[in-house]
């Protein structure tokens, strides 16, 4: 009786082992593979901006064109001062024809090529409408078509710099204003003009960059 039980158990185990071998063998199919690692590294867009070379111009009796004053004062006593940290220029006591001219150097400190955009915002204390009498201009030797509110055409490579010459002028045709008693009013007591530089990746379109910044395209 005991022997029969042993025989049955042995037979059962043998069948189970055979089944395991058969099942196991279905996984042993042929296969091959090859693997490659890919690394994606993103660059960065970053710029620094630096003011410099402030030159003041005023009208002279000898010329209808403003001439360099050779100092940090305008011909009629007004002044101009650059605030590099605040990105602005402050003008005080200026008269028609006074012009402040300075450089703004933008350096691409990121690793990707970038295009630049410069916008300004002015805060003027003076007679009514004085703000409209201020003229602004920007020029770049390497980008003659550049203007405020427009993206630079050429990409600025990583590490490269571009210099712009910016001028702020009180239009020489601005008309002096007097009060009701006939007293001459100071046309502009103080004007502060702040400049903001934006940099965007070079391959993006103007529309994409403006859209991302929420800016209205320049007219």
């Amino acid at each position: 009786m005991k022997t029969r039980k042993t025989a049955l158990l042995t037979a059962g185990l043998t069948i189970a082992l055979c089944a395991a071998v058969i099942v196991g063998s279905t996984f042993a199919i042929f296969g091959a593979s090859t693997t490659r690692e890919v690394t994606v590294t993103t660059g960065s867009v970053d710029v620094s901006a630096q003011f410099g070379d402030l030159t003041l111009y005023s009208l002279t009796p000898e010329s209808s064109e403003a001439q360099p004053t050779g100092s940090l004062s305008f011909g009629a006593g007004g002044t101009a001062a650059l605030d590099s940290a605040g990105g602005s220029i402050a003008l005080t006591g200026i008269v028609p024809g006074d012009r402040a001219e300075f450089t703004l150097t933008i350096t691409n400190t990121g690793t990707s090529a970038a295009r630049c955009l410069i916008v300004y915002e002015s805060s003027v204390t003076g007679v009514e409408g004085a703000q409209d009498a201020l003229n602004y201009s920007v020029t770049a030797a390497d980008d003659p078509d550049f203007s405020f509110g427009s993206w630079s055409a050429d990409p600025l490579a990583a590490g490269e710099s571009i210099s712009f010459v910016i001028s702020v002028e009180l239009d020489k045709s601005a008309v002096q204003v007097t009060d009701e008693e006939g007293n001459v009013q100071t046309f502009i007591t103080q004007a502060t003009v702040a400049f903001t530089v934006y940099a965007g990746q070079a391959n993006a379109s103007d529309a994409d960059l403006n859209g991302a910044l929420g800016l209205t395209p320049a007219p």
Partner: protein, 219 residues
């Protein structure tokens, strides 16, 4: 009773041994024929090569360039340190707008028909909330099979294909047969997103992932 049984068994065994001896001595003339059944297993071996790499990537100055590389790169063996010995080579300055499409050729170098598939997986899982994780969620992947059918849905990201696992590409039956399929990765320009390099940025992110092509015998 037991003793007599033992005696009987001993006698029977002695007789049988004697018969065997007699038979052996009689069987002097004999002959035999052996039929050899020859069974040879097939081989499953694949070859993988990149035959074309097209794309728009940043050069060393961060400026995007459109390039086409027609050099054949064998990807069959273990990857070397050669930066070109991979599927994609986006460089180190990727910005939104870069993309590459690799044309890969798979060859049946063995004798066994096989199915093949491509799998993407991270070399190291990106940390939660990291630039690498955001990069994985931004990189778009497109897989196109040998028949030109796009196997990935529009907008499929690297994170998606990693989660998806193996993507079946087709079968190769004949030895030496070759098929080409295409893999594309793209870092798209996101609309109205101004990435300033802070917060949820992908700037200066790095991500490594593996691409494995696996062949499995057809069953």
């Amino acid at each position: 009773m037991k003793k007599s049984k033992a005696i009987i068994i001993s006698v029977v065994l002695a007789v049988m041994s004697f018969i065997i001896l007699i038979t052996a001595s009689v069987a002097l003339f004999s002959d035999s024929v052996t039929v050899v059944n020859y069974l040879q297993a097939g081989t499953l071996e694949i070859g993988l090569a990149r035959t074309q790499l097209t794309g728009r990537t940043a050069d060393e100055n961060g400026i995007l360039q459109v390039t086409t590389d027609l050099e054949r790169v064998d990807l069959t063996n273990v990857q070397t340190d050669d930066p070109n010995d991979t599927v994609f080579d986006l460089g180190a300055q990727s910005v939104p707008g870069v993309w590459q499409e690799a044309t890969l050729e798979i060859e049946n170098r063995g004798t066994v028909a096989f199915d093949y598939a491509v799998t993407f997986f991270f070399a190291e899982a990106p940390a939660a909330g990291s630039a690498a994780e955001r990069l994985a969620q931004s990189l778009l992947v497109t897989v196109t099979d040998a028949q030109g059918e796009v196997l990935t849905e529009e907008g499929t990201t690297l994170a998606d294909v990693v989660a998806q696992g193996a993507i079946p590409l087709g079968s190769i039956s004949s030895p030496n047969a070759k098929y080409t399929f295409r893999l594309k990765i793209e870092l798209p320009l996101a609309e109205d997103v101004w990435d300033t390099g802070t917060g949820e940025t992908i700037m200066n992110g790095a991500l490594s992932f593996n691409i494995t092509v696996t062949a499995t015998q057809k069953v």
